[in-house]
Symmetry: C2
Subunit: 394 residues, 2 copies
């Protein structure tokens, strides 16, 4: 029996009208209230943000990507420098993924969409993924082309060295178009990889990290249910929903439903790689506690601001209609980037190719998502999530 | 007689051993103590820095470039948005150049070096500079290729619209390799352009801006002296040293000497486009009150940190020797970027192509230069500039 002495998850409130819940997730680097949003700090930095910028935007928790860090600067170096928190100067809770998703998705660029089901065309080839066997995967580094093996054991060891609070088991991520048979065999291998991940973790852990199991099974309800039952049965601290979720909103909803109905009810639930505003409202109601997604930070770098009440959730500041717009993005966010600059100025920065444009929009989008989560938590407590959703999604 | 009611320059201390002096330069956006350093905010942003980041690095004054702003977003827009201070959120003193230097230097990329004398080879052609006549210059926009005329009158009108505190007369910047004859004729035309700049300014100014005359004359002592005497004779608020200064440190020193010996002694002296640490020590002693240079911010974006006492003034954080260096850049700078991150982390950010690397080094370099200027002012007051120079330049 694996114990997680530095961790706890307490559900403090349940929505009578849905499966939404309020929780307190305690880690060795502090406690966060859920539902909450985990921002991507891929290479030990949330792009363009200092830790102080993140705090100013009221960020509670961030993640880093094992795949990227194992290649550069290497997990041994991060351990030597005192761990990821000290290395990057972030003293709050952190999560790392297992590296698997990037191995299975980075080869071709579009594979991330493929896995998440956002792209249904077949035939995207992952050229850097060389071999998948029971032992693990062999891939080519996208940086220097060298061959690297990743196994459940090495993925856990690398995450131990990186030193985040919340870790992920190693799993296989299957794309949308694969057959039910392949998905079933893959899910069952991820189950065995999960056991190996836990065994490796048990051998080396020091009580300051906790592992999530990942529910796989593609778009097939029975496979999802089987995977979830396995995760609930093993000594994982949390449950994550991963892999292909389907191509439509409806399909995604069904997939998540079947991923969670057999999940351990007292464990925190993390939803991997999903997190538009509409997703937050939908999946909080289905019992998801934490979200992560590159969208708020990635779209910021392309000039897109998430805004409460904006049609389609966002506006594009490159649009000529903002050229003379003297209003700030949103003073309700309580952060400088949202309050102290006109849309006209940010429009100018983006048109002029000035990095400050992406910086301001990144902080703004993070602040917007953190505000969304604060308001969602308040609404779950007050029982008016439906009314809040109407304010956010017009 | 032009009056500058919102402005004053008081010399509060003179170094008995050199021409170094301490001054108080008052503008409608606050007072700064000199000698001081003016950081380049070319397109209404010091690249990667928010105004709060600049203040945290103890920045007193910044500049913006008229050439860039007239092309994008246009000076009319900036005026409409309430002026450059409001547009970019910087409430301290600001300077704009006249646009001339970029017209004469941007065409070929290397022309800036050519004008400053850093590149002595002939034959760099400025392809975007179409015509220089008594009336002014015609050039092609590097953004959209359209033909644009810039005259003393339009340069002053554009600077009025931008709305900085300290403005520059329109002048011609001649490259290093031109003949004495050309330089003489050019300098005399800049004299006439100076008169037209002042006349235009007198017609429209509201007491909230002040104009500097620019000493030209290339590397020819008599031409420099003649130009300086003209500037001193006219109603300029300040004296700027511009144009080609020579190819060696010695030549530069002679040029500056002849530019300043006929200058009005009570006016502030600005040195255009020069500002390595060694330059600051040298030219403060010759009576320069303010410096501007892209070097601290530009080199930061290439991984170079200015450091007190470093051989050659700088270190390059991309160097492999910093891979495991747990020490911060310089805790004496009193700013987060210099204190709160290891060199190993900044090295990682730079190697990984993460924008935060350039951001941290930009703030660090600005803080280093501001600290340099604070220590220089204290040393001038205490009479120990020589000892301070040895601490900075090892």
């Amino acid at each position: 029996m694996i114990k997680y002495p530095g961790f706890s998850f307490d559900i403090t409130h349940k929505d009578p009208k849905s499966k939404a819940r309020i929780g307190r997730l305690k880690t060795p680097h502090g406690e966060i209230e859920t539902p909450n949003y985990i921002f991507c700090g891929t290479k030990a930095t949330v792009k363009t943000m200092t830790p102080a910028d993140l705090r100013a935007a009221k960020t509670d928790i961030i993640l880093a990507n094992t795949y990227h860090l194992m290649l550069q600067p290497g997990s041994e170096l991060i351990e030597k420098m005192g761990g990821i928190h000290k290395f990057m100067g972030w003293d709050g809770p952190m999560l790392t993924d297992s590296g698997g998703f990037q191995v299975f998705s980075l080869g071709e660029g579009t594979m991330a969409d493929e896995i998440k089901g956002r792209n249904k065309s077949k035939g995207h080839e992952n050229k850097s993924l060389l071999k998948i066997t029971e032992e693990g995967v062999v891939f080519r580094s996208h940086i220097d082309g060298r061959k690297i093996a990743l196994t459940p054991e090495s993925a856990m060891e690398i995450q131990r060295q990186i030193g985040a609070d919340l870790l992920m088991q190693f799993d296989e991520c299957t794309p949308y178009h694969v057959s039910r048979d392949y998905t079933a065999r893959s899910m069952q291998m991820s189950v065995r990889w999960g056991d190996r991940s836990l065994a490796q973790f048990a051998r080396t852990h020091n009580g300051k990290q906790a592992v999530y199991g990942i529910v796989q099974g593609g778009v097939y309800p029975d496979l999802r249910a089987e995977s979830a039952a396995y995760i609930a049965d093993r000594d994982f601290f949390g449950t994550a929903v991963g892999g292909c979720l389907g191509g439509t909103d409806e399909e995604m909803e069904i997939t998540v439903h079947h991923s969670l109905e057999n999940a351990a009810p007292q464990r925190p639930v993390h939803f991997l790689g999903i997190g538009k505003i509409k997703d937050v409202f939908k999946f909080v109601r289905m019992g998801v506690d934490t979200f992560d997604c590159v969208i708020p930070t990635r779209l910021a770098r392309h000039g897109t601001a998430f805004l409460k009440g904006a049609p389609g959730e966002t506006i594009n500041l490159k649009n000529a209609r903002f050229r003379e717009d003297e209003t700030p993005l949103d003073e309700g966010n309580g952060v400088s980037a949202s309050s102290d600059y006109s849309k006209a100025y940010i429009h100018h920065l983006l048109k002029a190719g000035e990095p400050l444009g992406a910086q301001l929009l990144t902080q703004h989008n993070i602040a917007t998502m953190n505000r969304l989560m604060r308001e969602v938590r308040a609404a779950v407590k007050a029982g008016n999530l439906d009314a809040l959703e109407k304010e956010w999604i017009s």
